[in-house]
């Protein structure tokens, strides 16, 4: 076999399992054989009965009975073998699970080494301190402002607000039409004059 490195080694357990399974197969094959004999004897018994050979039918049935007892015996053997095979296979699974657990345990231990309680406490303490400093700075900034400063800040805020809201409001009055000075008649005339002009356009088109 070339490239043997990727093929697992055949262990003693492997051979043991194979031997067991081969035994099991043999029993199964034997059972199959008995089953056919059973069927045949049954057939013979039926035929003999049909032709009136009661004795021979009885003989066939006796033979059949004997084979049946063999069959049930082998059933027990087969059960034993299969149980053994499953037990071994299950144990192998257990072994590999155990192996997996062991490895997991090792890894966990390594991780715990990093994660000792002192380290955690120290880090937590350090974070709490940092938070305290932050709060103090905020307080200090809020308290140092004088009344004037506060007012100036408030004024700036108002200005910003009015800028944001009031731009349109202050300009609109300017664009409003001024008080009418001419007589309304001329306006009407203008409108009359304009209308035919507008009307003409669609006609021309």
């Amino acid at each position: 076999m070339g490239g043997g490195q990727s093929v697992p080694k055949i262990t003693k357990q492997d051979r043991a399992i194979l031997e067991l399974k081969l035994q099991r197969d043999k029993v199964k094959q034997y059972q199959k054989k008995i089953q056919t004999v059973l069927d045949r004897e049954h057939e013979i018994a039926k035929q003999c009965l049909a032709t009136g050979q009661k004795d021979r039918a009885l003989l066939a049935l006796r033979r059949r009975k004997y084979q049946e007892s063999l069959l049930s015996k082998t059933d027990g053997q087969l059960e034993n073998l299969e149980q053994l095979v499953s037990t071994i296979e299950f144990s192998l699974v257990e072994v590999s699970v155990l192996h997996g657990l062991q490895q997991g345990n090792e890894v966990l231990k390594e991780i715990h080494k990093e994660l000792n309680i002192e380290n955690v406490e120290r880090i937590l303490d350090e974070t709490a301190e940092a938070r305290e400093v932050q709060r103090e700075i905020g307080d200090m900034l809020a308290n140092t402002l004088s009344m004037e400063d506060e007012e100036a800040v408030q004024a700036e805020l108002r200005e910003l607000q009015s800028e944001a809201l009031g731009v349109g409001e202050t300009e609109r009055p300017i664009t409003l039409p001024s008080v009418p000075e001419t007589t309304p008649v001329s306006k009407a005339q203008e409108a009359v004059e304009e209308q035919p002009e507008r009307a003409r356009v669609p006609v021309a088109a």
């Binding site: 990727s6 697992p8 492997d14 051979r15 194979l18 399974k21 099991r24």
Partner: protein, 193 residues
């Protein structure tokens, strides 16, 4: 008369040539016979696949009620293949590697290759993988006579051996021998997947 495909009771669709009376006679013209041989070979293999049949015997041509009745005879046109013609077809199929005489050194009983040994190797490995039997030691017997029917139920030992040997070559199986017999262990294999 009209020659049309026919579906057998087992659900196999016979090609229309199966309804042609001369199809059941060995042809004296070699070119014609080559065509007929090819048609018969394909028919036998596809029917074997349909019915999951692995062996064919020359005597199947003369037994009634056998597995091969549906194709070796056509009662609708009252024709059947005779044994010498079937023997000839089987020999030709052996030449084109579509069957192997089993046991060897005779020519009346053969194992059909409706899957090539390479294809069987893939089926086998796929079965072992999908049923969670990789790395488990299996006997040949439990592969071909599984308690639950599988694609490998009934596969002849000769085919199984060839398939296993192919898997061994690609490191996807390992043969284990003890005094009582042999077993095999399927491995994940180092294929790109």
């Amino acid at each position: 008369m009209s020659l049309s495909p026919h579906t057998t009771p087992s659900g196999f669709r016979l090609p229309s040539i199966h309804a042609a009376p001369p199809f059941f006679t060995q042809q004296p013209n070699p070119a014609t016979q080559a065509v007929a041989t090819e048609q018969w070979s394909r028919l036998i293999l596809s029917y074997a696949k349909h019915r999951n049949l692995f062996t064919i015997k020359v005597e199947d041509a003369q037994t009634t009620g056998g597995d091969w009745d549906e194709i070796l005879r056509n009662d609708r046109i009252n024709r059947k293949l005779n044994t010498s013609y079937l023997a000839y077809i089987l020999e030709q199929m052996e030449r084109s590697c579509r069957l192997a005489f089993d046991p060897p050194k005779q020519s009346i009983s053969a194992v059909l290759y409706w899957r090539t040994p390479e294809e069987w190797a893939e089926v086998l490995h796929e079965w072992a993988t999908s049923t969670g039997q990789l790395n488990t030691i299996l006997t040949f017997y439990e592969i071909i006579e599984p308690p639950v029917p599988s694609p490998l139920s009934g596969v002849p030992m000769s085919i199984l051996r060839r398939a296993i040997n192919l898997l061994i070559k690609s490191n996807r199986a390992q043969l284990i021998a003890v005094a009582d017999g042999e077993g095999v262990r399927f491995l994940n294999g180092s294929t790109s997947k």
